[in-house]
Amino acid sequence: MAVTPIEVFVAAGADRWHEAQALRAHELVRLVPTPRHATVLLVAGTILESERAALDRVHDQLPHPREVVTWDEIAAAVDMADDVVDAVAFEIVGRADAVVADPTTSSPTRLPDEETHEWRDVGPFGQGGEGMMGGTPYGRAMAMTADDRDGLRLDRLQLRLGPFLGQLPGGLVADVALQGEVIQSIEFACAGSAPVVTGDRSVPVARRLLWLSHALHVQGLDAFAVRAARLARRSSGVGDDSRLASDFSSLRRRLRWTGLRSALRDVGDRDGVDTWARWSAHLDAISASLDGADPRLSPAGGSMPITAAELAETITGLTLTDAVSTIIGFDIDVPAMTTAAVEP
């Protein structure tokens, strides 16, 4: 049996992304922020047609020896009585041990082994470039793609982030233009007017705890993320749930000493509500539902539904880091977002 946890990168469709966060509760699994650190790629939920190529690319980014585990296959195979998360963790450990023992079985590269742009022996120096900024040196265009002003293109880096990114909810795709680390503009790949926030919906407490687990992970509190994931498992009926409310308030007390408040205060202000207030609203909602109150009545600092366009407006001008904590604070309903994008 492995003594060190298996490092897993989760590539989850929007519908199973929260569930997959529950794996953090397992000691033998560590969810890592980048595919480069992972031994196992966990594919969970519905992968849309538009996400297939992205999934293959993430798969190929894993270092060898690597292995793929599919959540939905395991979920289909286990009895209703058994726990899917346990079964997935078991499968991950078994497959990882096998592939590390015999690296020749490592999952082969899926995408064709060819470069996007032809660059070898192109151009005056054979690196695919021409002049100072032209061509595709080493297979990519040069950065700085903003409009030409006074003959100087402005320093803008355009990236398409997602859908399988450790710090953002699964399925979320955003086109970002960065200047330095500051977001100049951002657009989510979805219908611009879709309501995207789940703050005031009556969501199961387990889902909120899984949200918390991911949020703490992004904020650098991985150990507390493990605690939150374990609470989420208990709240969904796995193991003892008698002391759930008091265990959660103990976690909350500990979080008070982590400096989360000073890290998130005054970030992503919208209508006088900042990211910390939104996070607190989630925590209050969890406390309320664990205490037996109706979660819909809980204080809801971040509960005002906003559209993707409004969200984009809120995080424009923030640094990438603050933007991530703000997006997380809104707890975007990605399935609603992506369906809205597909339907019209």
Binding site: E51, V58, R140, D155, G180, E181
Partner: protein
Amino acid sequence: MMSAFAAVLAVIAVALTVQVTALARSEWADPFVSAAPQRVPVLGGHEPATHAWSRFHVRYYPMTLVFVAFEMEMMFMYPWAVVFVEEGAKALVEMGMFLTILGVGIVYAYKERVFSWQ
């Protein structure tokens, strides 16, 4: 003194050699070859359109300029610390004056919000 610096250099050289050897070995003797799709930078699935290396807009550039000016003063503080006890109050007053002058600069820069991202 020279033997002390020789020891420092020797230690650095060994540490560098160990790491460089390990990394270079993995580069040349890796049984796995990085295929073209594997080498694509991590962005969560999509390919970047451009290289990441760009004219990076450093948001804290005024801070670095203030830093460079302020940091000069360190050159004087080390010898000052050595003779402080010997010189007593005179050293305290002179350095106090020096730091107050520079402190004015820091306060000014802070007031102008130089330490925020521009």
